[in-house]
């Protein structure tokens, strides 16, 4: 490898042992140079794209009209405070649904993995559940369940509210997605781990709880977080069956002000939550990759 490197006046030995003038190792110096270059490339290209947008979009014939109806500052500052409270409903739906989804998803995943012939019907049910649920769009499930189920009751109570059944539909749909994530994690735990546990006399459910699941959960945290980011956005879908959450409230404001800016304000609120969640997910994924595969290959 070093054979092809021309020996400079420093001499190979000096390079290998003594630190360079900057006090950094050769490796660190190289990394620093590379990083500077890629930072430069990234910033120049970003500036060019942004500049192009700033320069050319306003030159388009309809820009003034669009700006007035989507990016009106007064409407923005006016609608943002009105959206806080409805958005808090989104957050609450999310906070209630997310743990239910994790629990149901895990149970479905376990049911799909049972091997005992006596429990075959359970496995069949879990398989049909995931297939049917995942085969229909979330928005359609929310409509069907949110409008359909409350109609079954004659009285009015908390359990006849559309928001409850909208949440139920979300839990149902996302549990099916999350079950697949868990199943991949469970199957990723090597068979020999199960054999070792069973050979010590642990039952199959003890093996699942103490040996398989803890290892599976560690692997699935990042993909699970991805699903949670989607969930946070999909909570807005329950608006179609009535509850006044952020998207619906923004729609009402739009119809009152004849201006689309409240939608932009709602988008900003969603970003405030999803960007930190996405960053956290990426961070966890990178950590998991480092843990499982040593040095990352660029």
């Amino acid at each position: 490898m070093t054979g092809s490197t021309p020996i400079t006046s420093d001499g190979a030995d000096a390079r290998a042992s003594a630190p360079s003038r900057s006090g950094l190792s050769r490796r660190a110096e190289y990394d620093l140079r590379q990083r500077r270059r890629s930072t430069l490339v990234a910033s120049v290209s970003t500036v060019l794209v942004v500049a192009a947008i700033i320069l050319f979009v306003p030159m388009m014939p309809g820009w003034d009209r669009v700006r007035a109806s989507f990016f009106d500052w007064d409407t923005f500052t006016d609608s943002l405070p009105k959206l806080w409270k409805p958005f808090w409903l989104n957050i609450r739906i999310f906070l209630i649904c997310a743990p239910c989804i994790v629990v149901v998803g895990m149970l479905v995943a376990i049911a799909r993995g049972v091997r005992s012939p006596a429990l075959f019907p359970l496995r069949l049910f879990a398989t049909v559940f995931t297939d049917v649920v995942r085969g229909v769009p979330v928005i359609l499930w929310i409509t069907l369940i949110g409008f359909g189920v409350p109609g079954l009751f004659s009285e009015r109570a908390w359990y006849t509210k559309p928001v409850v059944w909208g949440g139920f539909a979300l839990v149902m749909c996302y549990s099916a997605y999350v079950a697949e994530v868990f199943r991949a994690g469970i199957e990723g735990v090597h068979e020999s781990q199960r054999a070792a546990s069973r050979s010590l006399g642990l039952s199959s459910s003890q093996t699942m709880r103490t040996v398989v699941l803890p290892q599976a959960v560690r692997r699935v945290v990042p993909p699970l977080m991805n699903d949670m980011v989607s969930l946070q956005k999909d909570v807005a879908l329950v608006s179609i069956i009535g509850p006044v959450e952020a998207l619906r409230r923004a729609g009402i404001l739009v119809s009152q002000s004849f201006n689309f800016t409240p939608y932009v304000a709602a988008a900003v609120l969603f970003l405030l939550v999803s960007i930190p969640l996405t960053r956290l997910t990426d961070h966890l994924m990178a950590r998991e990759r480092r843990r499982t595969s040593g040095t990352a290959v660029s």
């Binding site: 054999a195 069973r198 050979s199 010590l200 006399g201 642990l202 039952s203 290892q215």
Partner: protein, 253 residues
């Protein structure tokens, strides 16, 4: 053999096992007496691992019976868990639980299966670790240990259940040559304590030294068995002869 051990601790009687069309154990019959050490030798693929896994009921057998203290444990429908408590198994690839400390690896089964109080189980674990020179590793995680240390911990983990029989499946095969010795020492130790053992091994010198009886498997059959001196110096069957000749040629005896 039944003449030597009228009531065998462990008896395999015409055990058959196939994977699909492939017959892996073909009418295997074997007796193991209490405190006896039996080595299984044979080419790779001859069925050694499968035999040990069947004894531990990790694989169901198709036909025949396996008797532990006079009870047929391979009877379909027989609960495998109480049997596995009495039979310890150590694998070639250690199979320690990577998310648990060494101590927890060892105390898991005693606390969960035998319902021992945690403190008592830890006390026993420390004693065992100490005996095998591993006490400073109690808090470590498996991936912080060398292969030899991991395998010794795996043996301690099985011993912590105070099994009546230990099954060891090529426990040194995945180790660097320099680490093999420390694991073999542990097995010598167990023999000294009178443990009944069935071990599959490629270490012929060790098999010769440690076993009361050597059992040669060839294509799923027990072709020949006998005391190590006889098996290694004067095998009767041509298959045994060929196998040993090949082992000697490869420099492993």
């Amino acid at each position: 053999m039944s003449a030597i051990h009228p009531v065998a601790k462990l008896r395999l009687d015409r055990v058959r096992k196939s994977f699909g069309d492939r017959v892996v154990l073909d009418d295997v019959t074997l007796d193991v007496g209490a405190h006896e050490v039996v080595c299984l030798i044979g080419a790779s693929g001859s069925g050694k691992s499968t035999m040990l896994r069947c004894i531990n009921l990790l694989e169901p057998i198709d036909d025949g019976s396996i008797w532990l203290d006079g009870v047929d444990i391979a009877e379909p429908g027989h609960d495998p868990d109480p049997v596995r408590r009495r039979v310890g198994m150590v694998f070639q690839s250690y199979n320690l639980f990577p998310h648990m400390s060494v101590l927890r690896n060892i105390t898991l089964a005693p606390t969960k299966v035998l319902r021992r109080p945690r403190a008592e189980a830890e006390q026993t674990a420390h004693e065992l670790l100490q005996r095998f020179g591993l006490d400073d590793k109690a808090g470590a995680f498996p991936d912080q240990l060398s292969g030899g240390q991991q395998q010794r911990v795996a043996i301690v983990r099985a011993l912590a259940m105070q099994p009546e029989i230990m099954l060891l499946d090529e426990v040194t095969a995945a180790l660097d040559p320099v680490l093999v010795g420390e694991v073999l020492n542990v097995i010598r130790d167990m023999r000294g304590l009178g443990m009944t053992m069935v071990l599959a091994t490629h270490e012929m010198g060790f098999a010769r030294e440690i076993s009361d009886r050597v059992c040669f498997l060839h294509q799923g059959r027990v072709v020949e068995q006998g005391p190590p001196e006889q098996m290694f110096s004067a095998p009767e069957r041509p298959e045994t002869h060929d196998f040993l000749a090949r082992v000697i040629a490869s420099g492993r005896l």
